[in-house]
Symmetry: C2
Subunit: 603 residues, 2 copies
Amino acid sequence: MSPAADNASFVFARALLHELAAGGVEHVCVCPGSRSAPLAVAASQTAGLRVWTHVDERSAAFFALGLARASRRPAAIVCTSGTAAANFAPAVAESFFGRVPLVVLTADRPPEARDFGAGQTVFQPGIFGAHLRWFHEAPVPEPDALLLREIRVLAARAVAMAAGRPAGPVHLNLPFRPPLHPEPVHAQALERIAEADPLAWTGRDGAFARFHPARLEPDPAAVDALAAAIRTSERGAVVAGPLDAEPALADALCRLARAAGWPVLADGLSGLRSGDLVKDAPLIAHHDALLRDAPLAEALLPDTVLRLGDTPTSKATRQWLAAAPDTWLVDPDGAWQDPEFAGGEVLRADPALLVSALLPRLEDALPRRDGTWLTRWRRAERAARDAVTACIDAEPGLYEPRSVRILAELAPEGCLLFASSSMPVRDVDGFLPVAAKRIRVVANRGANGIDGIPSSALGAAATAPPCAILLSGDLALLHDLGGLLAANRHEVALAIVVFANDGGGIFSYLPIARYGERVGFEESFRVPHGTRVEDVARLFELDHARAGDAAGLREALAAALRSRRTTLVEVPVDRDASVAHHRRVWRAAAEAARAEVLDRCPA
Amino acid sequence: MSPAADNASFVFARALLHELAAGGVEHVCVCPGSRSAPLAVAASQTAGLRVWTHVDERSAAFFALGLARASRRPAAIVCTSGTAAANFAPAVAESFFGRVPLVVLTADRPPEARDFGAGQTVFQPGIFGAHLRWFHEAPVPEPDALLLREIRVLAARAVAMAAGRPAGPVHLNLPFRPPLHPEPVHAQALERIAEADPLAWTGRDGAFARFHPARLEPDPAAVDALAAAIRTSERGAVVAGPLDAEPALADALCRLARAAGWPVLADGLSGLRSGDLVKDAPLIAHHDALLRDAPLAEALLPDTVLRLGDTPTSKATRQWLAAAPDTWLVDPDGAWQDPEFAGGEVLRADPALLVSALLPRLEDALPRRDGTWLTRWRRAERAARDAVTACIDAEPGLYEPRSVRILAELAPEGCLLFASSSMPVRDVDGFLPVAAKRIRVVANRGANGIDGIPSSALGAAATAPPCAILLSGDLALLHDLGGLLAANRHEVALAIVVFANDGGGIFSYLPIARYGERVGFEESFRVPHGTRVEDVARLFELDHARAGDAAGLREALAAALRSRRTTLVEVPVDRDASVAHHRRVWRAAAEAARAEVLDRCPA
């Protein structure tokens, strides 16, 4: 390979993009700009990179976040100088807290042009605040072999830091001097590099530099202590929070729980609600409904908890966790995801390696257990599940719980379900049943924003899972309206189910709702907007269907899932009726479980 | 006044908002959220505050920026915790570089909840990077008189710092513990404050604290030196860059130029192109077309330049400036707006005070000048203006230059014209004529982003000027699509003229365009999007008209200006034809001016 010797900016940009691809980056989201031209052109010319262009940098960054989250590989984003970079900030923050690998490439004016009144020039170093794994200011391109080598190593290091532990966003700020088009100005000087340092010029076969991360083996003493705690505690529980576990890990966790005789409280985002291997696992999906009820939470209180994944979605579960006397929190990054300050043991290790180390210590050595504890959980789960089903089946209207059940029923094997923040992720956590059919549930769970939802879901869908569904509220749809542009521009197939309640539904669940107009509830919290989903569909040339009841949703969703386009399936929801329905469902679940658990096993 | 003693969060929030209003804040943009409930409720209950609710924090912040820019007073923005705050970042950067006063209030979790895995929690302190005039973390509200006093003083200080020199964004991060609704939990402790420290409790009459800024008087020695430079330099020029000068300052600058016998190169954003007082002033509006021409730029090269305002919009003018041997740069903030590194004298002073100090030193003492220099400029300006007019009148198609002239013609006295970044601001700078009718031209000139344009313009229009026009490209419209929601929600009247060329028009002017598909020009730079302006109008229930020629634009714009609603006036533009037309116009202007200037005044 002998790249054209046009000018240093284009040579450096090509080297950077080439090394990103060699390091495993496959997707690059590019926003238009002049300062970023070397990067945009290099991205479009680099073998192995797929380029996704976007108008709005905020949407582009969330699209890349979705790509990276779904593919579990770093994605890159490119923007020009100025406020363009600031528009990346929301997705960068989500990437940081969600531990999603993102390589952020911001073109910039060279240092001499900053802070002297040049146009489209802001302070880009530091623009993402504390939300970065790594930052580096790249050198201004010039015909210099050492700097060209730096660019190649920078790319490798950026990918390593983004995909490292913890994964997250890295920011390379890339200054360019004119010309910003491939005019040959440094050709001779560049050709001298090609002769004098061919390795700098063409790179190596494959990556120029490659990083080998450490294996995060658990500390053997901690494994012994944890194994001892499991052996001595009959009333234990595995709590799998948002973890997006791959099948092998999900399987291992189920085997661990079975060996321990403990239930697994499987968060909607844990990756443990569905899949082949979990059929006989002691999985609890309805823990939110169960633990909202104080007598049940008390009756089901564990002595020992083994936590994996992020903070559970269910507030009831979080509070119940804090009451456990003995807590083990396992995290590969040593993240202290403990907002209730449960304290206890915090163990940094790869969860899969930990389970591998634990199982041999348990399977032969575990004392025989009478099964009361696990039976109690299984009965509670079954009672809650059946009561929820009965309650939503008896309801003539179509609300979120039944919609989630219908989604789970119609989604094909391997489907990706993106749950918007605010209510949808809670409804998925609350009502997505355990099933053998594999559905991968993802969400922007890092910072739980309602920003960038359509873009994130479109990016996730763009990794071409067998099918993809977004469950969203109308406010989240509106927040990232322009993000829908990517659906047709990039031919993404996504079934978007929109609960249309003309505003922010979550506030109706909060105490502030009781104060009504004394606190400006409608205008300041609900923020009714009056936009019609069908007009959104028309603007972006998306398919649209409205589903007023369960049969309608089944029909519309089935059509959307068959389609190779993006469809907006609108589910009109009356927010007050929906709140009342949720409360009936929770009450029914708790009553059914209480009858099973409290009567038979008095505290 | 005895505010309700419910809980400390609500008492503190009410005190804060009360003091902001007392300090001169009139507008608060509020986005929905739970953590921010005390602020949202307090804003809605505070006399003297007008609340504007928005779905999208990014749009909200730009709307506030528009309000603040147009009203020349600090506006406040409120959001909840998490990535919500990061969405403010683009407008905060623009506010910083545009020196627009903005008080940013971000609700946050209390310190103990941060970085331990709580939901919707990011690192808010530092989230705006270096783009702040001031940051302060407010105390967690509790029943404590000293802390309540701090809140009152914080509000005053925030307003003072935002409106100070330089003006810009301040960030108050405001932690709240539950309850986040006005439940009485601290009532007794709060009532004790009311008794023990009534001043803390109720505040003072008017503001609790008030800041008195210094007058930025010019250094007398520097005034003498500048006066001497003006007296000795016949070939001088006043260059009024983006300044948005109020009429009194515009008048003073014109008087200064007249006294000096110098032309005033009036940027489209200077505020000096229109108004009663400038009729006989030596105003040059077509300097961009003149100075694009190398022989003209040389013939018109000054010995001495007095610069005010930000870096001129015209690149030709910026480069011409750098060649002047003697440069005086006046800025009230001592901002070194000198990207070409002209160097010279930099004078920090209030421009109006400087002119007041200069005039007496000039009016009696100035040597008689023969007027050749000024006459040359006047002839060049007239020739350019007439040639531009002839060229656009001869053009059957409707392009941006003629559209700007039609806008200037139809805009009523006192109209506000918001020029989008990228091409519209350049077209306004290039083609807005000098006129007695006052049109106030504003733009996001701080960082020149195309983000937040509709929101910024709607915010500016919401200050109720006699009328308001936004001149935008379709890409800028699409970038902040959701911002259009504010038009009807808040009943804002704005005539939006959209040059619809299906993508980024500016790139066709750049050398990269010559490389075509070798650099992926269409897909990576132009980014055609295919959305229709009429569908945008339908979604947001805006009026819509399409103008294919001058008569059509006149008719549509006149109707839009009569309307009390927001109208999208779409002007379809073929980008290549538009580039060719611009080049014809510039050539015609230069040729006409050369015939006037070079032939008669050989260098």
